[in-house]
Amino acid sequence: MSIKVWAFSEVPEVANEVASAADALSKAAGGTYTVIGVNGSGPRLAGEAKLVLKGSDALSGSPELTAEALSRAAKEANPDLILVGSTRNGKEIAARLAVKLGRSCASDLFGLAVSDGALRGKRNAFAGKLIGEVSTPLPCVATVKVGAYPTLAPSAAAATMKEVGDLPSKSHLVERREKPRGTVDLKGAKLIVSAGRGVKKKEDLALVSELAAELGGAVGCSRPLSSDMGWLPEEHHIGLTGVSVHPDLYLAVGISGQLQHVAGIKDSKIIAAVNNDKSAPIFEASDYGVVGDLYAVLPAMMKEVRSRRH
């Protein structure tokens, strides 16, 4: 069976990850893939075949309009598999598209393969405690876990342009503002020092941020610190419902290690933890752990790190 795959994301860099998933899949299963863009994104996309959907300015950034545009184009070209980058908007686009096309849909997949007329893949479940094997009959729509595939470089291939026509909208965007990034982007950080409930006062976060600064790393936190205490902006929240990170070193300070937090740090190369509770689950998820009071261990680590550098 020769399959026809579409790769899309509203974020061009993610689209090029999805393109690499589509590339691997179409090579293995036999078939072709097309990278789909919207409005001016063509030059930033990878792949030899590109299709760019042209519409109003509102089309870029609106999951509602993007799903409708994709649906119109897919009804003509009839791809067997539409892969969408699993961002928040991407999941909405995929879900809407699946309903519009009357197809089934699965989200956050990696390890994709096609066999016996079905898309196979893996996905995390139960906050990462389990890994599930998924099977969805073709034709279908699926979202691809962000970061699961390498990024293909943009290609010089010219895109086929397609006018999508007028798109009806049930809602409208009033305002969009960028979230504050902090000093370092957590998603791209090589080293992250992260704070949890073991930190007793907001001022004490200085211990964590000073160590992070000494190590040239970024500061993250578990959900309670951003959500309940409001000590750090939401953008620092690492975990299932926050940011997923993959640094070389993730140092968890005073973090108990609930599944929801660990789900966001699994892809770290080395995980280390400092916690005064020997039975804290974070030690089960760590390569190295120190059982001790963070208020004593962090200053000692700071001293140790400094002495090594001089």
Partner: protein, 255 residues
């Protein structure tokens, strides 16, 4: 204001046991209201107290899901609708179809709330599917909802940006956990929850399925946690040195 809130009864991911071969032990596993659904119920109750009206809680689940239904009723929802199907043995699309059909039957509603994803599978697909199936405006990942007259202004929390979106009622909204702090029901509320109306609907009576059920998952295994789990104990100066030494040998500290 007529408010619907869709919830899921889920196996508690923290309590789920795995046998030595890595097989999850779903039979008899502890279960609960999906974590973030409490935020959806809370938001429904806040809309109710600000605009008056009533809250209907809807779920697709087995008989065990009555526990979650009762919890939502104890928190302050007025009535429940249970579509008796096991979400683990049908796929995401069918679950959304059943929820949408149940919302249509129990409605009309001004606002339909969901959480961004369930704490067991966390697919994030059901809320936008329900919105699309109902043909209503859908706004996902809300961290703030303001309803004025026949229109809602919703702040959406995306990865790198915050958007403010306006849409007319009726609409479907999914919420993130930052939106509020869910309340705990009082003992009296818990006792009274059992007296509130709860309707049970068989899925085929609601929306007959033409295709055979196709579960999304063909298998599940424990995720291998291949971590070294080396733990240092002792005086802070010693353990700090051991940790820094270990991280240095791993090559993950800056030189």
């Amino acid at each position: 204001m007529k408010i619907a809130v869709c919830v899921k009864h889920a196996v508690d991911e923290n309590e789920l046991k795995v046998d030595p071969a890595g097989n999850p032990q779903f039979a008899g596993a502890a279960s609960k209201m999906s974590t973030f659904d409490k935020n959806a119920v809370e938001e429904a109750l806040r809309l109710k107290s600000a605009h008056s009206g009533d809250v209907t809680v809807l779920t697709v689940g087995t008989a065990d899901a009555k526990k979650t239904m009762k919890e939502a009723l104890a928190m302050g929802a007025d009535k429940g609708v249970l579509v008796t199907a096991d979400p683990m043995s049908i796929n995401t699309g069918r679950t959304a179809e059943l929820l949408a059909a149940a919302v249509r039957k129990a409605g009309p509603f001004d606002v339909v709330l969901c959480s961004e994803g369930s704490s067991d599978i966390y697919s994030g697909l059901v809320p936008p599917m329900v919105g699309e199936m109902l043909g209503l405006p859908y706004v996902g990942y809300a961290k703030k909802i303001e309803v004025a007259g026949q229109s809602a202004k919703v702040e959406r929390s995306l990865e790198d940006s915050v958007e403010v979106v306006e849409a007319p009622l009726p609409l479907v909204v999914s919420v993130v956990s930052e939106i509020n702090e869910p309340r705990y029901p009082t003992l009296i509320q818990i006792m009274q929850a059992g007296k509130k109306p709860m309707e049970e609907i068989a899925p085929d009576a609601l929306l007959p399925e033409s295709k055979p059920p196709s579960p999304l998952f063909v298998g599940m295994k424990a995720q291998a946690m291949a971590r070294k789990k080396v733990v240092f104990e002792g005086p802070p100066e010693e353990t700090a040195k051991k940790l820094v030494d270990a991280l240095g040998s791993e090559g993950v500290l800056p030189r």
